[in-house]
Amino acid sequence: MHEGRESASREFEKGLQAKPENPAQEMGLRTYILVWLGIIILTGITYTLSRIKIEGWEVIIALVIAGAQAALALNYFMHLKSETAGIFKVIIPLVLAVLIVFMALTFSDVAFRRW
């Protein structure tokens, strides 16, 4: 009877120690290094472009490149690309939408002021 209880709890322990569903398992060292290189190269591009005068577009270009770097970090370093849980697909776009609305509302005021 004592043995029966031991083996039952051992089985249970084994079940508990089963690895949790891990989206991050799909990415390995090679992926991370490539993403890092991509981010570094994009930094280099941002810097180089800032030394060239491109009238008017500099901010937008810089922000687009920064956005690309952020997307790389979010998807690969923060494992969003392989995330299975659906809730992330809701909350992150939701917050970005909130920010965009704030920006749009702010600029619909600021852009029309006579300071």
Partner: protein
Amino acid sequence: MNEIGEAVLEQHRDYTGAKVGMWLFLLSEILLFGGLFILYSAYRYRYPVEFHQASREMEVFLGTINTLILQTSALIMTLAVLAIRKGNRRLTAYLLAGTIALGAVFLGIKVSEWLTHIEQGIYPQSPVLLARTKGEVLFFGLYYTMTGLHGLHVLIGICVLLVMLIFLLRGKFSPSRFVPVENSGLYWHLVDIIWIFLYPLFYLIT
């Protein structure tokens, strides 16, 4: 005592739930910094020339080095999470220590930049600064506020990682229990992403 009952109480974990919790916090941080970025954009829209003028005081070289340092620390942090997932505790410890070290270097450079500016008399409410144009005053106000708040987040991140390192050395993490390390990594990556936007907006205004 019921061994199985105890095992259940000790081992109930929710991996996805833990990550969702951290993500919700990160999203609130995004809104926090987002508000400051919107403030920056409103004033830059208003004073484009003065912002350009003021940004010439920035040491682009140091800013760029700091950017590369932080981005590399993000890689090291990701590898630390990979290492503990594979059960390599020693490597995880080295990689966590590496992330902390790079974060500390980042802060050191940032502080030295601030000190340079302060020595030149440029700091909030200084007579030197107030003698300049309104746009420049606003630029430096935003500079100190946003890089200061970001630096505070880096400092907090370093403290969190130190705690993770201590827990790791005490044997609390394993391939089946590492979500605190992963969550710390998520926080660290957010700090990196925020800097990715701060860098061009303060250092690369042409």
